[in-house]
């Protein structure tokens, strides 16, 4: 009777019943959004990136084989944290990478700290990962709200965009991004004329953009991400906003977004990124290999961060000849300088923040582009030591405790 259905249920669970012994493999988990808003900026591409890093080591490190697993957190903190918990408790995963979506990343960071494994986040934006929620097990690669605000905000104001109007997504990330950028704009002599909050995943931005247009600000700052950014830009192009003389500043834009928009609509957009595939010979070479394994799509900065993060993690494990103590591995990662073809030379700070240069780009006009994915022109490089929030301003308990 019920036995049959119960047995069926049990059968489904057999894969989970295999409790991990203190594993003899180095297991790396790539946890990100594979079905929702952020699929294209990380997703399966991040898995490819991680695999490429493992292959640099010949799929073996310190005598142990490397295994890569992946799962979809669907942008939900509860799913993300339960996958992380299960991975560590049951499957013997040693390090978790990627994790876009700030809410999920904070939940996962806590789980990993509690269980003393390694967390290298390359997808989330929240600066709290190296701020008040920092842990000795967390490393934050690629970008955060502070560096985006500092990059785009400061550089755009310096380049002449003095007056700003914000179009902000009405949730924590959007509001924080606006707050950080506002501070930077005002500190550099600019003025914020106003702002409007739009609901997350709004389908139509025409009315918000009309308000932005009416403000006559030089720059319309888009404090949103993913589909919202794309829709804002599309609507702006349609309502002749860029043609009318105002410029759009995308505070968080990925190359996958630009690809989806097309150059005709996105031209002139200014954005900050940690990586661009066409930057130099080394990035080009790596990216072409990546694209060959990922449907011809060039890597985003998030995927590049996964590669670099995995590479550095493996270096640390190699040097330590062990992977079990998460804190020790992260300390080693902070002790070794970072060096990879994508981000160049850099380091990881005491609060877990990876330091590398950031770049301000502008999206090319269709006439300036030689082919698909040739989208950005470099406006300015922001040196590594100026790109991230200074340690002196940090509210990370690891840092403040020492003071």
């Amino acid at each position: 009777m019920r036995i049959a259905s119960r047995l069926l249920a049990l059968a489904c669970l057999l894969p989970l019943a295999a409790f991990a012994q203190a594993g003899k493999t180095v297991k790396i988990g790539v946890l990100n959004d594979q079905s929702g808003l952020y699929t294209d900026l990380g997703g399966p591409g991040s898995v490819v990136a991680a695999k490429m890093a493992a292959e640099e080591f010949g799929n073996k490190v310190a005598g142990m084989p490397i295994e890569i697993v992946t799962a979809d957190h669907q942008n939900k903190p509860d799913i993300g944290s339960s996958i992380a918990t299960k991975w560590i408790d049951v499957d013997g995963v040693d390090a978790i990478l990627d994790v876009p979506n700030s809410g999920v990343s904070l939940a996962v960071a806590k789980v990993i700290a509690d269980k003393n494994k390694v967390f290298i986040d390359s997808g989330a934006a929240t600066v709290n990962l190296t701020g008040k929620n920092c842990t000795p097990n967390t490393v934050h690669w690629t970008y955060d709200t502070w560096s985006l605000a500092n990059g785009t905000g400061k550089e755009v104001v310096k380049a002449g965009g003095k007056t700003w109007f914000f179009l902000t997504a009405d949730y924590e990330f959007g509001k924080q991004l606006e707050k950080d950028t506002r501070a930077v704009v005002e500190a550099n002599g600019g003025k914020v004329l106003g702002s409007v909050l739009h609901p997350l995943n709004a389908s139509d931005f025409s009315s918000f953009l009309l308000q932005a247009q009416a403000s006559k600000a030089n720059i319309i700052g888009l404090a949103n991400a993913g589909g919202d950014t794309i829709n804002s830009i599309k609507a702006a192009s349609e309502f002749g906003i860029v043609a009318g003389g105002q410029k759009l500043a995308g505070l968080l834009v990925f190359i996958s977004d630009v690809h989806s928009l097309g150059l005709k609509t996105a031209q002139g957009l200014q954005l900050t990124s940690a990586f661009y595939w066409d930057h130099d010979d080394k990035t080009r070479a790596w990216s072409k290999k990546f694209a060959a394994r990922h449907n011809g799509r060039m890597p985003t900065m998030v995927q590049a961060g996964v590669y670099a993060g995995t590479l550095h993690y493996l270096k640390a494990v190699q040097a330590l000849k062990s992977k079990d103590d998460g804190k020790a591995v992260v300390e080693k990662m902070k002790a070794l300088p970072t060096d990879d073809p994508l981000f160049g030379k850099g380091s990881i700070r005491a609060d877990g923040r990876t330091i590398h240069p950031m770049y301000l780009f502008e999206v090319k006009k269709p006439s300036e582009s030689k082919g698909p994915w040739d989208y950005y022109k470099l406006i300015r490089e922001i040196p590594a030591d100026q790109a991230f929030r200074p340690l002196a301003q940090s509210d990370c308990p690891l840092i403040t405790a020492k003071k």
Partner: protein, 295 residues
């Protein structure tokens, strides 16, 4: 500059106009839904998915067959409408006599499947779809710059709504349809092929959704999830208008667009919620909706 509650009158008008444009989409979509519910008693939760299929169809036609916007406006709804008719024939027919709740659940499941498959093959960022050159650009109305394409949307919407309403309420075909839903056996006894009529109607409703999708493609991105959150709003529109009334849905669709536009000016954060507040109020005061007939 005169202001109303702190908003300059020019800005207000422009927002109202934008609201009207959005209302056109709501009206067009709720039209299809109202037809399907009013005449077939099916709560078509898959309506958003068909809207998405219409847009996706237009994009595919362009990408793989080089067929542009104008032909796509006819071809895509036709194909999707046929697909809808097929679904009606194979699945919806089986549950016709049952509680409408099953129809809701079945179409809900269908929506999940269609959207999921679309997402797995096309990703979520969406694909760009260029505006047809004849409709790009805009006119400067003085208080705002009105893109031509958006004006076109309003025009098509009004015409289609009026046309559909006329067909259903004033022609013989429409009267057969209305009769068939009230008493299918009797109508069938008169020699009218009722099952075929029903399949056709479902196909028509679906086709209207697909048409709205094609029209949306140049403005919103073509993404597998584009219908998902829209469907709830459209449902609210139909419920407010009265689930049996086509005229009610059309009117409510346009009205809601305008009200949302006003909300965006004075209290933008609530613009996504206002439709539900209205729906809850209407349902409490007038349960059959503003123009509905009590079943």
């Amino acid at each position: 500059m005169t202001t109303i509650f702190g908003v300059p009158i020019q800005a207000l008008f422009s927002q109202l106009l934008v609201g009207l444009i959005n209302g056109s989409f709501y009206a067009l979509l709720s039209l299809g839904l109202a037809i399907i519910f009013g005449l077939l008693n099916i709560v078509n939760f898959a309506h958003g998915a068909f809207y998405m299929l219409g847009a996706l169809g237009a994009w595919l036609l362009l990408e793989h067959f080089g067929i542009g916007y104008w032909p796509a406006l006819i071809i895509s709804p036709l194909i999707v409408g046929l697909f809808g008719a097929l679904i009606e024939r194979t699945m919806l027919k089986r549950i016709r006599g049952l509680d409408p709740i099953y129809g809701l659940l079945l179409t809900f499941g269908l929506a999940l499947v269609i959207q999921g498959v679309g997402r797995n093959y096309f990703g979520v960022s969406g694909e760009p779809y260029d505006m047809p050159s004849q409709l790009s650009g805009g006119t400067n109305l003085g208080f705002m710059f009105l893109p031509n394409y958006r004006a076109w949307v309003v025009l098509v919407s009004v015409v289609l709504c009026a046309l559909t309403w006329f067909i259903i309420e004033r022609t013989r075909l429409g009267s057969y349809l209305r009769a068939a839903t009230e008493n299918p056996l009797l109508v069938q006894a008169f020699g009218i092929n009722v099952p075929r009529l029903i399949t056709l109607t479902y196909g028509l409703g679906v086709g209207l959704a697909a048409l709205a999708g094609v029209m949306a493609a140049p403005i919103y991105r073509v993404s597998p999830l584009m219908g998902a959150d829209l469907i709830i709003v459209v449902f609210a529109v139909v419920v407010i208008g009265g689930m049996g009334s086509i005229f009610g849905s059309i009117l409510t669709g346009f009205a809601l667009g305008v009200i949302e536009g006003l909300t965006k000016v004075y209290y933008p954060e609530a613009s996504s919620t206002v439709v539900f507040v209205i729906m809850a109020i209407v349902l409490l005061v007038k349960p059959a909706g503003l123009f509905g007939r009590t079943a």
